[in-house]
Symmetry: C2
Amino acid sequence: MPVKLSAPDASSLLPINGVTLGYAEAEVRYTNRKDVLVVQLAEGTHVSGVFTQNKFCAAPVIVCKNHLASSGKIRALLVNTGNANAGTGESGLRHADQSCEALSVLLGLNREQILPFSTGVILEPLPIDKIIIGMPAAIANAKADNWLNAAEAIMTTDIVPKGTSRQLMVGGQQVTITGMSKGSGMIHPNMATMLGYVMTDVVISQSALDAIIHYAVNKSFNCITVDGDTSTNDSFILAATNLAGNAEITEDSADFVILRDAITEVAVELAQAIVRDGEGATKFMTIQVEAGKDGRECRKVAYAIAHSSLVKTAFFASDPNLGRILAAIGYADVDDLDVNAISLYLGDVLVAEHGGVAASYKEEQGVAIMSEAEILVRVVLNRGQAEATVWTCDFSYDYVKINADYRS
Amino acid sequence: MPVKLSAPDASSLLPINGVTLGYAEAEVRYTNRKDVLVVQLAEGTHVSGVFTQNKFCAAPVIVCKNHLASSGKIRALLVNTGNANAGTGESGLRHADQSCEALSVLLGLNREQILPFSTGVILEPLPIDKIIIGMPAAIANAKADNWLNAAEAIMTTDIVPKGTSRQLMVGGQQVTITGMSKGSGMIHPNMATMLGYVMTDVVISQSALDAIIHYAVNKSFNCITVDGDTSTNDSFILAATNLAGNAEITEDSADFVILRDAITEVAVELAQAIVRDGEGATKFMTIQVEAGKDGRECRKVAYAIAHSSLVKTAFFASDPNLGRILAAIGYADVDDLDVNAISLYLGDVLVAEHGGVAASYKEEQGVAIMSEAEILVRVVLNRGQAEATVWTCDFSYDYVKINADYRS
């Protein structure tokens, strides 16, 4: 079960002026399941995207990058589950193009104004006919208050749909931000994707939007890991319809930081939701590394801990097996690391310092903290001012079960 | 159960002239278990060592390095299981020194002539008294044909003892090589160590021995992974007693390569045995990456596959889930990787090329190969002449069970 995460109320996911969402049950892989989503964006919408760095990136990722670069006037997103269109070579690219072409005809747009996204089984041809057949239904039922249905339509092995909204005053106008995401592994193997979509009606320049997406992703989706595997399909999209009536936000605007932080907050909530619903997760862990020389080494240490199968199984067992955390810090490939200077905390309990167990530490303190559903691990490197935070989940029997049984 | 690995016959582990091995049941952590080993080496023995690069390395690792650097005349090895003497700060170093001091008195040596090794629980003080009390027994029962007892004495969660021997002609004389190792994870968490010891009677210069150990480790212990975690205590020792009567082997000797390759063969067998007896292992996988630009990128690709939890669970499930392997190649951080140029084989079956499934591939071929206990994964990068091989095991329910339940 997800760790402290439940499905949002439909009413809590606020419509965005200029955005409609429609879905179809197109039987891409399963029956009786929403599996095609069409998001329509008003004319004048600015769109930014960040994509997986996996060299085996899926065909739709390549097409998304091309369309963002060439068109500049994205008007619709097309998402299918059930098939990732990854590891599909030339025919995969053709299928991604064809799906954009088909939707553009139905919506009276150019092909380059569509961004395609696929998530599901890798290495199988995209059932392009089924997706095209599903499009009219997804256009017919499109409406602005369809976010919960949309969040359900992009789920693969996720247990709950993930979405959230914020409203705030920007430039004297109320603006709305709504987003949704799906996991449920950082990569989910065949169901191979993290997808995130955040929309807002704020009036904002393209360059300010681009600045915000990179800031927000670095504070959110780039700080999570379930199993350390990087998907072929990971995509995050930030779109602004420019309909809120505020004075245009640029990077120099007084309210730029307020807006940026609100969008980042939404992205963090969506990213954390993926971890809370991680495959087999029973614990949600925050790995916070402080007082490092630079952010890079802090991230190395945080990810070494977050990726360690031994640390993750110890958390699953509620076992304060601190040696595993120290060992992970030790192999994090940080130059000249003085392990005797490091302090390790579980929650607010000092558990290790001077290269060994803290004199004040008592095993029962560790056991108490490890039995919680949410756990903070703090590593203080004591060699600088930088810090980094990573969120992850534990490693359970169910992780093996889900990933060993998945395709059958 | 270990994958195609059983305990060696005592008679197959050949004595080395100048080496005696004795053990004690010292109750370091458990009763009725060999847990202290003393290996005595004849005067004039040359010794080389390679140790973990983990910054949180254990106290005995630090002491080993110091003694190798300062003495040059190592005469005994002292190994205990049940406690790793890691994460033990200043007192850990004192305990490691004290154990060497105590053994040196009993053997009439200097403290710097002893190399100490510990494996077992991290973050708990070494029960130095028990180890010292056990030493006389381990000296009293020392003999040359005690290798199987010695291999048992260094086991922690290993299911079977690991050892092997070779004999060959070097410089017109028969020489003998015998080694032993223990795992059973690359790191086993609390039982936190890979240990390997190879001894030979060959007459060899110190610099030739040093050259061989680095060559052999790079071809063996540096090519294995169980869970990707690097231990605080990993140690590999190569010792030559110089008693075989051959003309001294130097790096220029005609037989240098023959000897080097025989020692490497022993190291490979010992390293592979650790993987075959890896925690929860049901499959033994060879990941062979070919035609890369350099060895470094080949190793990156091989380790990305070997470390992927998703790949390892797919192997456990006997599921030819090839997308997971392609995804791992894709995130292996190799510059300018052209995924369309890569060929992927399972055994001798071509399964993927041109960025997708090979036209000739049939699922039942993959299923047949994945159901084997030993599986070869070949990745041909088609961009150079370099290659690398890594051995690993699958990821099973038992891995989680062993590591979640371990301390209790």
